[in-house]
């Protein structure tokens, strides 16, 4: 019975290769935390995570990651404000509203946007959006508009609102959180919309037919039947979109301004975690505390995305309608 032994051997080989991805995941976790341990141990974990000063090259160096963490959270939050409605709307349009021909045209376009090189998006933010903001939008809203308002001599309108515009829309540098958030939106729209579209497509046809037969209009069917029925899939889409934005490196590296301070307003420059790693790794000597601190940031990023993956996997298994999130 030689062939049976051979079959067993092949099965064993293939199964062991199958576990490769588990091993890779464990290895990534192991190496990141091994390299990151040093900074948390030597500088104190709480001090590192909640320290407000990130001066890795000063003497003595300070490794407070809090500005970087806040930078990531704020820029992601701002981008999520744009990306979630746009992504979901794209999915609803493709899955529910568009006719066949438009769909055939739009779907490949969105798929192409998904694999669009993020370095080109960052480049676009740098050379197009940033100059538009700082040399066109800022003079218009911060200078011309308040003057116009003040000349109107109306209460509140020409005082408080004019001052608000003057103070808050004066953009010193186009490379700031807002620019980065805009480009992150472009990055996240295809991710959110492709997963959300799967979720919407998984809603059974009968639901829609029942709704139409009761006399509901198209929008009512979408808003009160299809979206509630697919809410778990839509939330998975949103979580995956947020995960993409948190981990996106090149856009925030090129367009976010790169100042490691806690931002106060949306036009302040920020230095999100991935951009700190990418910008400083070249100058951090191997084995120095700075090197370990950058791995500490990487480990935090890894933990955040791990938690997001587990949560989204839990949601999609718990409220299972379809296997979602596979083809991002």
């Amino acid at each position: 019975m030689k062939w049976q032994r051979k079959e067993k051997l092949i099965e064993l080989t293939i199964s062991s290769v199958g576990f490769f991805s588990v091993i890779i995941l464990l290895l990534i976790g192991f190496f990141l935390f091994k390299e990151a341990f040093e900074v948390f141990y030597r500088a104190g974990a709480l001090k590192v995570i909640f320290g407000a000063e990130w001066y890795p090259t000063s003497n003595p160096p300070l490794f407070g990651m809090f500005p970087l963490i806040v930078g990531t959270l704020t820029v992601t939050g701002l981008a999520a404000l744009f990306a979630i409605p746009l992504g979901i709307a794209t999915a609803v349009y493709v899955a529910e509203v568009a006719n066949y021909k438009v769909k055939e045209f739009l779907k490949p376009l969105i798929e192409m946007l998904a694999s669009f090189p993020s370095v080109v998006l960052g480049f676009f933010g740098m050379v197009v959006i940033a100059p538009i903001l700082s040399s066109w939008l800022s003079p218009l809203i911060a200078d011309k508009l308040p003057e116009l308002m003040k000349s109107a001599h109306l209460p509140f309108f020409s005082t408080t609102l004019a001052d608000f515009c003057h103070n808050k829309f004066f953009i010193t540098s186009g490379l700031n959180m807002f620019t980065a958030a805009l480009m992150l939106t472009v990055r996240a729209i295809p991710v959110i919309s492709s997963v959300a579209e799967d979720a919407l497509a998984a809603v059974p046809r009968i639901f829609r037919e029942a709704s139409y037969s009761l006399g509901a209009s198209r929008w009512d069917t979408i808003w009160r039947v299809v979206i509630p029925a697919s809410v778990s899939g839509l939330s998975v889409a949103i979580i995956l979109g947020i995960g993409t934005m948190i981990g996106e490196t090149m856009i925030v590296l090129m367009a976010a301004g790169g100042a490691a301070v806690i931002p106060h307003w949306i036009f302040d420059p920020v230095r999100p975690m991935p951009s700190a790693i990418a910008a400083e790794m070249a100058e951090a000597a191997h084995g120095s505390l700075h090197y370990h601190a950058l791995f500490g940031i990487g480990a935090l990023l890894f933990l955040i995305t791990l938690i997001l993956s587990i949560v989204s996997d839990f949601i999609s298994k718990r409220y299972r309608s379809v296997k979602i999130g596979e083809k991002v």
């Binding site: 079959e7 199964s15 192409m112």
Partner: protein, 301 residues
């Protein structure tokens, strides 16, 4: 008779169909239509912008000449070669592992804790940020394995990054092979492995190839994983060994746009490089999409 019937119920029929103009309905559907196009419109705007500025520098010399005078003149030949080499080695490394894992998942795995673990780790790997893969590649391939900043370290890092994508597309392709194919083959007295090798894999091959073309498109545009593992600002000529650092298109754009000494002077080259990268990535992507839709329409079963 039908005409007559129609005439008698003419009025109520019309009444039923006469809907008053619904403001809410019209507003929200228009909103969805407008927002739904945003992604496509943005893509087209960025494409046109880069193409408009980049097409002026794009020429045969730009593609076939090395850069000269500290990057302000000349072409990007070594940069293109670097990206192609990185992508090709990455694919050579990742395809055997990815397809074998897909065979395991589709054919050999049994439901249970182990399968859940594999699936969960693939799902998690797909969400890990690319810069974290870069860090992993740095500590494992560059430092622990002593590869240094090199083509091979970068390719391995990219391979690990694209692995979950290759696995899931290959698994999909293998699972799309009808079960009757396997039954027919097994009924002829073949073993399971023979069935997989001679029947399942050849049938699934187009799907696997399409997935890997799309994966190639993803890989060739990535910057963060190769930043610390393979990419160099400048190398003289094309690499002669896999242990040398390379220049790559995405990194070239980044470096010229942010860290060079002549940022404004090299702007045309930046546009040209961006356009080359986009043409490469989106061309691959388009090829994959077209192949996939052709396969879907061709499928005989």
């Amino acid at each position: 008779m039908i005409q007559g019937l129609h005439n008698t119920i003419h009025e109520p029929f019309e009444l039923v169909h006469k809907r008053k103009f619904d403001l809410k309905e019209g507003f929200f559907l228009t909103l969805i239509r407008t927002l739904g196009f945003s992604g496509g419109v943005i893509l087209i705007i960025i494409l046109f912008f880069v193409a408009y500025n980049g097409v002026r520098v794009l020429s045969w010399d730009f593609i076939t000449q090395p850069p000269i005078q500290s990057m302000t003149k000349g072409g990007i030949f070594p940069v293109i070669v670097g990206t192609i080499l990185l992508t090709m080695i990455c694919m050579v490394v990742v395809l055997p592992v990815g397809v074998t894992t897909a065979i395991f998942l589709a054919e050999y795995s049994k439901p249970g804790l182990l399968l859940n673990m594999v699936n969960m780790s693939i799902y998690t790997l797909a969400g890990v940020p690319s810069v974290v893969y870069g860090l992993f590649g740095l500590t494992v391939f560059v430092i622990t394995f002593h590869f240094g900043m090199s083509l091979i370290a970068g390719s391995f890092t990219l391979a690990i990054m694209v692995l979950p994508y290759i696995i899931s597309t290959s698994e999909e392709a293998i699972k799309a092979v009808p079960y009757s194919f396997r039954e027919a083959s097994l009924a002829c007295g073949t073993t399971k492995w023979q069935t997989i090798r001679k029947v399942v894999l050849p049938t699934a091959l187009p799907g696997i190839l399409t997935g890997s073309i799309l994966g190639t498109a993803k890989v060739s545009g990535e910057t963060a994983p190769i930043m610390f593992t393979a990419a160099a600002f400048f190398t003289p000529g094309i690499p002669t060994s896999i242990f040398q650092p390379v220049m790559a298109l995405p990194y070239h754009i980044y470096v010229l746009a942010t860290a060079g000494t002549h940022i404004e002077l090299t702007r045309p080259i930046q546009y040209g490089t961006a356009l080359t990268l986009i043409v490469l990535v989106l061309g691959m992507n388009l090829l994959g999409i077209i192949l996939r839709s052709k396969q879907r329409s061709k499928k005989a079963w």
